[in-house]
């Protein structure tokens, strides 16, 4: 068993995803407490560019696990590759992003290795020699503290945007090693027929620092264009509460809440959202909440840092214009 802290790197188009950098930053801090090194594990095909970029973000060692069967992503191939590496190197702690990929393969790895696993970690600390995570539970009506048992490999699946991306240290380099994965095509049973990109001009929800979100108050699908324009001006992502999804105005991948995504951006701008508990379950972890609503009694105002009682159809376009101007000056 080593004292090393591993991060399994998620990447796209030759670059690590933001969540992976967030985890490297946290791994750096935890490794200093635990007295180990930070190891980045990069599964994929043709991953040398990704591997090269990780030293500047805090990795001491980078394992490039290059194999044709690791592209595109499948749970089968990733679970085998990651399990083989963890079995061989026995790190004390492994950080995985809570993403569609991470949530898919990490439990398989834990089951295969008999490792401890805690998902949806909103914090991860070493306290009195124990590894302790907190996580939202019961649809965010409570926060649970979970303690990992000592000994063995421990896998923490960490929520996006709870740790900040460490600044790149130019000139800091990691030792890059190749990791030979033993994989054959029989072991990859799932076939990826296609990965359809949803073309949006706005940022993905789980990576956004700012989220502009719309509710029933938007009145119709066409009015989401107002939010798109505002989000573009802000460099933000667009989300929704449940009613617009149930009414078919936007697709389910917009939905934030108990039956949708959990987000924790720097700023959440709620437009025409009343603030039902089911919605709060997905967004009350935002650092700042700004709400625009016609109804001064809307529950969202009870947790908004800035509450605007007014007509979003009048305010949002003016806000978009004001932000364009503010950014233009900057």
């Amino acid at each position: 068993m080593s004292k090393d802290v591993w991060v399994i790197i998620e990447h796209q188009d030759g670059a690590p995803k933001k969540i992976s950098l967030e985890l490297l930053g946290r791994a750096r801090e935890l490794a200093e407490t635990l007295g180990g090194t930070v190891v980045a594990f990069v599964p994929g095909a043709g991953v040398s560019n990704v591997a090269e970029s990780l030293g500047s973000r805090g990795a001491d060692i980078v394992y490039a696990a290059d194999h044709a069967l690791l592209q595109p992503y499948t749970a089968d191939a990733y679970a085998q590759a990651v399990s083989q590496a963890l079995q061989a190197e026995q790190p004390t702690l492994v950080l995985v992003g809570s993403t569609a990929q991470g949530r898919d393969y990490a439990p398989r790895v834990a089951a295969r290795l008999g490792a401890g696993i805690v998902t949806d970690c909103a914090s991860l600390e070493v306290a009195d020699g124990h590894l302790v995570a907190t996580r939202p539970m019961y649809t965010r009506k409570t926060i649970g503290t979970v303690v990992f048992s000592s000994g063995g490999i421990r896998i923490a699946v960490v929520l996006p945007a709870v740790y900040s991306v460490p600044p790149a240290e130019a000139g800091r380099r990691a030792e890059i090693r190749a990791f030979q994965v033993a994989l054959d095509s029989k072991g990859v049973r799932t076939q990826v027929r296609e990965v359809r990109a949803i073309q949006r001009e706005t940022v993905p929800l789980t990576e956004a620092d700012v989220i502009v979100s719309g509710g029933r108050g938007l009145k119709g699908p066409e009015n989401f264009a107002l939010l798109d324009a505002l989000a573009k001006a802000l460099g933000a992502a667009v989300g929704s509460s449940r009613p617009p999804v149930d009414s078919g105005w936007v697709s389910h991948d917009y939905e934030i809440g108990q039956t949708g995504k959990t987000v924790s951006p720097q700023v959440y701008l709620a437009c025409g959202i009343s603030g039902a508990p089911q919605h709060l379950a997905g967004m009350s972890g935002a650092k700042y909440i700004v709400a625009i609503n016609k109804d001064s009694n809307a529950p969202i105002f009870q947790l908004a840092d800035l509450g605007i009682v007014g007509d979003l159809f009048e305010i949002v376009p003016k806000l978009t214009e004001a932000i364009r101007q503010a950014k233009g000056r900057a």
């Binding site: 569609a100 949806d120 019961y138 421990r154 296609e194 789980t206 802000l234 089911q278 003016k318 932000i323």
Partner: protein, 263 residues
């Protein structure tokens, strides 16, 4: 097609959650417990496949005796059988412990497809489904939003929502799927269905019946433990402004710049 649906009983998400005074867990007294929301979607998926291709839908739950109420909800929706694995030695199990018990039970049943909810709304872990697939040696697709069966090829084609896109996967049977709410609209149990479900016997099995060794499950095998539950930090309502649009816009811009520092 023989389908097994995993069912968990959880607090009604509409109900307020009371934490025990010592913070060790939730106070269940008077709490309305129901079938996990996503398991309703899983049961619905199973029933639709049965209606299309024949076969059977068997529900399986792990938990105390009261879990039978959640299983009866699924029976009332139209499932054929339900099995409860219940044993005091399971107290304190982690998710892998639960997955081991489910795997042992499912190995005794014919299964072409195992369907789970994408997560349970109590602990939100999303671990049991993929862990169960691994323990049974089955391929998986998680959080699927669309499902089609190609019976000639013995595969299912599923759509899975990922960040910024949709994965279209072909998964050979037998397989395990976990389902998203957008997959379907669960049916309401019919009155005759409810009456039938009341009379149906739910088979209860112990760890000994399944041949599961106690040290592989329960609190001693658990690799993590919940030690404390607290309410989420209270958010304070901030400033409320009821002014004309120009003033409101100026306030928002100032807030984004000076407080949130995103401009």
């Amino acid at each position: 097609m023989n389908i097994v649906v995993c069912v968990k009983q959880v607090p009604d998400t509409e109900a307020p959650i009371r934490i025990r005074p010592d913070g060790s867990g939730i106070d269940e007294s008077g709490l309305n417990l129901v079938m996990n929301y996503y398991d309703e979607h899983a049961t619905e998926a199973g029933l639709r496949l049965k209606e299309q291709f024949g076969g059977s839908v068997t529900l399986i739950g792990v938990g105390p005796e009261r879990t039978k109420e959640a299983l009866r909800t699924g029976l009332a929706m139209g499932a054929d059988e339900a099995i409860l694995v219940s044993d005091v030695a399971l107290l304190g199990s982690d998710h892998l412990g639960t997955a081991r018990v489910l795997a042992a039970a499912i190995k005794t049943l014919p299964h072409d497809l195992i369907i789970c909810g994408k997560l349970s709304t109590d602990d939100n872990a999303a671990i049991v489904g993929p862990a169960l697939a691994e323990l049974l040696g089955l391929p998986q697709a998680t959080a699927i939003a669309q499902l089609e069966v190609d019976t000639s090829g013995g595969t299912v084609v599923v759509h899975r929502e990922v960040e910024g896109g949709v994965e279209v996967l072909e998964v050979p049977l037998p397989a395990l799927l976990t389902v998203e709410r957008s997959l379907n609209e669960p049916r309401y149990p019919s009155l005759p269905g409810i009456m039938k479900a009341k009379r149906k016997e739910i088979k209860t099995m112990s760890l000994a019946d399944l041949g599961v060794e106690v040290p592989s499950v329960g609190a001693t095998a658990a690799k993590s433990a919940l030690t404390r539950l607290v309410p989420p930090p209270k958010r304070q309502a901030g400033r409320m402004i009821e002014e004309d649009a120009e003033k409101a816009v100026a306030e928002i811009v100032a807030f984004l710049k000076n407080e949130a520092k995103v401009l």
